[in-house]
Symmetry: C2
Subunit: 448 residues, 2 copies
């Protein structure tokens, strides 16, 4: 295969002599030209389910078979701001919370997050000194790499973002605690606790407990706990989400977490049901504002989903179908990256056991170049830096790969192509460094 170096003979690119690097670079350029010649048109930008995944839920198209929910309410008519009981029961069980602490909403959990944020901005919460929009400044703790839409929402509303490193067991709780303890302008934090976007990390019980119990200077500090991938396992080692609501209640901060989930990546990405789970007081707070914005959610779609799943176990079983489709694609990503890049010392990447993404760290300063090279070859990736506030990756290092949408063959093709781009960008970068060193020997000597 073009561009593949025998793994056994690979030497880290940084250790090659200028002449050896020149040879490598020529081969990568040839491989890249072959890629260009294929005229690909592949889109790996977003964590979208594939057509085959959507098909798994097509029974929805002839549901519901009934017109009334378990309480005898006609789902076709107005009302029921908190959503129908049946679907709240199913997702209450899955989210480890009583149905009364679950609100079933429309088709978008992002909308529910945004609703919570605008309520806090315009009105605050019980215990807020004032509406957030009346504060001098509002800051959020943002684990990075993270979800671009989370950061874009904050930026849009003028909220400052303070980044903390994301680790394998969740955000660095010590760093978070230090930020939150003394600064009342730190009003909240984002977290994708399970199979995080994009790094795949699972927030451990210990980290969750630390976040739930840490002292906060802001009396209305909120954790936006976006559990988008709670049930989205890729292996038999199924991660169990930390029960943040119980942990927070036990720690004396019952209103701290706002938990979000949806069926967007369970049934239909565009026509699922979204959920907010929170303390009873937070649910009352949310509804006390939403009553001015809505007479009720789409209960027909909620009943459609309740009939489709039948139970919490029905959701779990349904997810096995997704895993069967997704796992080979994620395996293909690993295989392609390993085949092309192992031993070169130009990239590391995650091996997620769930979720929708593989996060790649390439040679510092080359992520943008990789994305541009891939785009020119017809492989569209999430923009470099997208996983950081304001789209700015300080090291220009991180790339988010989203292999869910294309069919398996295309994932293999795309990932081999991406690996070619990574190696080419790295070689270009190292060659440029060699040339800089040659042209400024005095600087080089000063450094040594």
């Amino acid at each position: 295969m073009a561009g593949v170096t025998e793994q056994t003979t690979r030497v880290p690119l940084a250790d090659l002599s200028p002449a050896e690097l020149e040879v490598f670079l020529d081969r990568q350029r040839a491989a890249y030209q072959s890629l260009l010649d294929r005229g690909l048109r592949l889109d790996l930008t977003r964590g979208k389910p594939s057509e085959a995944q959507l098909d798994l839920a097509d029974r929805l198209l002839t549901l519901p078979t009934t017109r009334t929910d378990a309480d005898g309410v006609d789902v076709r008519n107005y009302g029921g701001l908190a959503g129908i009981r049946q679907i709240r029961e199913i997702f209450g069980e899955l989210l480890q919370v009583a149905p009364e602490q679950v609100v079933a909403g429309g088709n978008s959990s992002l909308t529910m997050m945004h609703d919570c944020l605008t309520q806090l901005l315009l009105h605050g919460a019980p215990g807020s000194p004032r509406p957030w929009v009346r504060e001098e400044r509002v800051r959020f703790v943002c684990p990075v790499p993270g979800y671009d839409r989370h950061f874009a929402m904050l930026a849009h509303h003028g909220i400052e973002m303070v980044t903390v490193p994301m680790r394998e067991d969740g955000p660095d709780a010590g760093v978070v605690a230090a930020l939150v303890r003394d600064d009342p302008s730190v009003k909240g934090m984002w977290i994708v606790p399970t199979y995080a976007n994009p790094v795949g990390a699972v927030c451990s019980q210990e980290v969750a407990a630390a976040l739930a119990s840490m002292p906060a200077a802001a009396p209305d500090f909120r954790i936006f706990w976006d559990n988008a991938y709670a049930f989205h396992h890729l292996t038999e080692q199924e991660a169990k989400s930390a029960d943040i609501l119980t942990l927070a209640a036990v720690a004396g901060h019952p209103d701290r977490p706002l938990v979000f989930a949806s069926t967007s990546k369970i049934t239909y990405a565009g026509a699922g049901v979204a959920f907010l789970a929170a303390s009873a007081d937070n649910v009352a707070w949310y509804l006390s504002h939403q009553q001015f914005a809505s007479i009720g959610p789409d209960k027909v779609n909620q009943l459609r989903h309740a009939e489709f799943f039948g139970s919490a176990q029905g959701v779990r079983e349904h997810m096995a179908g997704h895993r069967a489709i997704l796992a080979p694609k994620f395996a293909a990503v690993q295989a392609a990256l390993s085949a092309e890049l192992d031993g070169l010392g130009v990239a590391t990447w995650t091996k997620p056991t769930g979720g929708y993404f593989v996060s790649v760290d390439v040679l510092d300063g080359t992520a943008s170049r990789v994305v541009a090279l891939a785009k020119a070859a017809g492989i569209v990736l999430t923009p470099a830096g997208a996983a950081f506030p304001h789209g700015h990756d300080p090291h220009d290092r991180n790339i988010r790969l989203a292999p869910s949408f294309p069919v398996l063959d295309d994932v293999q093709t795309a990932m081999t192509g991406v690996a070619t781009c990574i190696a080419l960008a790295a070689a270009e970068h190292l060659q440029a460094r060699h040339q800089t060193e040659r042209s400024t020997p005095e600087d080089a000597s000063l450094e040594s």
Copy 2:
């Protein structure tokens, strides 16, 4: 029938002697006791479609038959923030506007109104001196009687309401123009232009043109044009909504109107599709904010509706089915109120040719008593004053009747009961006045 006075012999209650009034009152009390004895449980509080109306749309439950829209987009997946083209075309034609000027949203036009309002509060519009939340005060012109949810939304966000009288051809445009011309704190106004809630008025072309062209001190003055009942005719004399967007564009204020509509009272009240129609700049403004709150609306439900209707003509034809169900109920309201109250001089009421409500003005100071009497008899009406800001009717005079939801027999029963309550409350009120006059003869003589 108990409580019915022969129409030919009726004398206005105010003209009865104290003794005659006492006789009338006794008869009304007896009629009311009979009403109590029936143990009714009827709810006429809200403008909800009946089960029979909802049934008209039940073909929706097995739609859509396809998974892609006319542009080949898989409606089940993410994306398409403005909604699918097919449904925008159908409602663009109905709302007299290009599809590009229509956004198809979720299940609630109230939500789209609230979204526009919160965008204006938090960010303002192009041309706003500052976000509305940074203004000293923000005021809205509110035609009364009007829609309680409109007023509640404003009150919730601390926006002051200035009432103007609603007339048969819409709000008093002269009064509105005077309020808007010199006061930059007057940022907007509500209007239900067609078959207004609750008075049934239809905003004339002349009034609409005046509202579209009047000078406004606020550069970002907005008309929230809630055309909820645009196609909801009760007779063959179908009102045509004024084309506010064209009128405003011609008058040089293209961004002034924000037009809202939905299928809530066309298909399913809780599971329809809502629409925003506006200038191209306003559509861009709306989407530029909504992109942070949503990845897209429920396109499956939009395609379901597009297939169900087929065309704009399909919507018009579907509305004939609603008319067939609703017209007899509205006729029953007229018949019952006339039978019980004609000639008594204690109430006037509207005879709407469309929409969902009959607005009754009872004797000043008795509306609350009527609603309380009805409630005690198991007939739940919209609270007195609901059609006014903060629920305060300065004359305690207006009652909104919503006959759509109960079956025809129940409407007849309820309306006869309401009429009994109206006459009883009026007689009580007049008797109390007689007694006051007797106990304070010196005041009475001073007045004469």
